[in-house]
């Protein structure tokens, strides 16, 4: 089952998110536990002090002969100040409640509250302090220790109670909690940042592979060459195998077509020559048919090459050397006509495609210019916007009227029957350029003749 593709997080996001969830959970739990433990420990220390106070209150008390309890002489000056937060009280059970007998001066005229469950817990453990929370006379939170015990010389039990303001404990616990939260948030952010870095570094080879594959596609590299970790090594090897297979298929196809076409050409030459040597009606038919066959072979050979190539425009070709070689070759071919080819091309200009194809396109256009033009051919290549290149070939021949310009590109159309050539030149140029996603435009040149402009994909230098 496929999930709806509303949100597809990247690998990096998945890893970071997972790590973040876990970190946040662990940090939150540890924060809660730490705060609770701190609070518990503080209260325990507080309770120990209260117990000590209660026990010394008990130890210092005495009973007079009338059974009245006398409190010990005071040691803690805080207990004498009204509402100071430090209190004690000596009481006796009175029904379900208690009645005070002696109390610290700090209590003024209020009393300490009995434990929330009355006297049950006190009676259950006589001689042991019971701790509970209460509200003090100044509405402060109080921690109370109450101990029910018997004093010698007195029949009814006596309750010794000591109390202390809990506010300092609460405050420090609060502060501890805030500090803990801040610490944990910083730690959490640090952890997530670390995970993020780890993921970027860890997935680095994947990004490198992506760049290399892009290089192979755009023709800047012919295979994936990087050194990859063991998980990616098989993928890189498979990619290389795929590229090699692709190239091999294209190459094989081209070779087959080429072999067939070229194998036919020498027999065709023999037939042509033989027919010329024995003139007659049969020879005429042979000559005409052999010429037609030659045209078909040439045409389909070029078409097959154009089709085989357009699928793998991985290579890139420097434009200037191609123009140089073609100018050199064509000036020799048209030496008797004394054609001069003046070509201009910036050094760093690259065609996104194969050298053979660029030679074929530009070669045919230049050849046409030499053939139909006068003595002067101008070729100009330049980079244009959006990774394209524009190649203009102009001649100083008679040029073409507008209605014939469109006709030129038609297959096999020969405009000037007096000039030698198969007439397939520009149609193969058209096929090749469209195979590369380019265009051929015809126009009039300022030199007086035809202007052919090829628009082709350029490659990064």
């Amino acid at each position: 089952m496929k999930l709806p593709r509303l949100w597809r997080p990247s690998l990096a996001w998945r890893l970071v998110l997972l790590a973040a969830c876990w970190s946040v959970f662990v940090l939150a739990v540890s924060g809660v536990v730490q705060t609770a433990l701190f609070h518990q420990a503080s209260v325990m220390r507080f309770d120990d002090d209260l117990r000590e106070d209660a026990e010394s209150l008990f130890a210092g008390s005495s009973v007079d002969d009338q059974g009245r309890v006398a409190a010990p002489p005071l040691t803690d000056p805080a207990a004498t100040r009204a509402y100071s937060g430090t209190y004690w009280e000596i009481a006796e059970p009175n029904g379900a409640g208690i009645r005070w007998m002696q109390r610290s001066r700090s209590l003024w005229d209020s009393e300490l509250a009995p434990p929330p469950d009355g006297l049950n817990s006190l009676r259950a453990k006589p001689g042991t302090p019971v701790f509970y929370n209460s509200i003090g006379p100044a509405h402060e939170p109080l921690r109370v220790a109450a101990m029910l015990t018997h004093l010698p010389g007195r029949a009814t039990p006596v309750i010794f109670m000591t109390a202390e303001d809990l506010t300092p404990v609460e405050t420090s616990a609060h502060r501890f909690a805030i500090e803990t939260i801040i610490g944990l948030v910083v730690l959490g952010a640090g952890l997530i940042l670390l995970v993020f870095i780890q993921v970027r570094v860890g997935l680095g080879p994947l990004f490198a592979l992506e760049r290399e594959v892009a290089d192979v596609r755009t023709g800047r590299a012919d295979r994936v060459a990087g050194d990859y970790p063991s998980e990616l090594e098989p993928l890189a090897a498979e990619l290389n195998a795929l590229v090699a297979h692709d190239q091999e298929v294209v190459e094989r196809q081209r070779t087959h077509v080429g072999n067939l076409a070229h194998a036919l050409k020498t027999p065709l030459s023999v037939m042509l020559t033989e027919s010329e040597r024995h003139p007659g009606p049969l020879a005429d038919i042979v000559a005409v048919q052999a010429d037609a066959m030659k045209g078909h072979v040439d045409h389909h050979l070029r078409r097959a090459r154009a089709a085989a190539r357009s699928q793998s425009p991985r290579e890139r070709t420097a434009v200037a050397p191609v123009l140089d070689e073609l100018a050199h070759a064509l000036e020799r071919i048209f030496r008797d006509e004394q054609v001069t080819i003046d070509w201009r091309c910036p050094d760093g200009l690259y065609f996104q495609g194969e050298r053979q194809d660029l030679l074929e396109m530009v070669g045919n256009v230049l050849e046409n210019a030499c053939k139909y033009g006068g003595r002067r051919v101008r070729a100009q290549a330049r980079a244009t916007l959006g990774q394209r290149l524009s190649l203009t070939v102009e001649d100083d021949g008679p040029g073409l009227p507008d209605d014939q310009l469109a006709e030129v590109l038609k297959r096999g159309e020969r405009l000037d029957e007096s000039a030698p050539g198969a007439g397939l030149g520009l149609s193969i140029v058209d096929e090749l350029t469209s195979a590369y996603g380019g265009t051929v435009a015809l126009g009039a040149s300022t030199l007086g003749g035809l202007k052919v402009t090829l628009d082709l994909p350029a490659a990064e230098a």
Partner: protein, 226 residues
Amino acid sequence: MRILLAEDDPDLSRQLKQALGDADYAVDHAADGEEAHFLGDTEPYDAVILDLGLPKIDGVSVLERWRRDGKQIPVLILTARGAWSEKVAGFDAGADDYLTKPFHTEELLARLRALLRRSAGHAAATLSCGGLRLDPRAARASVNGEPLRLTSLEYRLLHYLMMHQGRVISRTELVEHLYDQDFDRDSNTIEVFVGRVRKKIGADRIETVRGLGYRLIPLEGETESA
């Protein structure tokens, strides 16, 4: 006129030998690259018709060897492969003309006549300048025996510089000799061509004399016999 025909197809060879013989040429035939190279190396032919798809050594290699050895025989290449990449390779190797199979015999004969007429033309002396050689008859140049690939504008530039080696030549003078009258003369384009020729013959061979022009530098202690 003595012609070397290097072609491996027996039928085509027989036909061509006959046609060339009918046109009053003396024809030697070589059926493979080794034989063709040997014959071309030892016999004084006026022209060679060279098939590129020869057994043993291919035609382009045979041609390259001749050119490397300084042989300037006019060569007409014959091939079934008509793609521009192959034509360019042929001219790069030093071919003078190119004919794609299948062809008409008259066309072959016409091309051959043109080739012979050109090579028989005005016999100008070979120019040399410290490792640089320029043969105006074949319109070829080489540097230290390595054939140079020059387009006609580059060739004209080098030719003019070599005719006036050691002298400073102004841009205007170069433009005038490079271009025909009807060409637009832009002295900046000279820099383009000087740059290209420098790339091909070595940057230090053409010196820029500030404000004056260019000078071809003859290397010292080197004398070349034409």
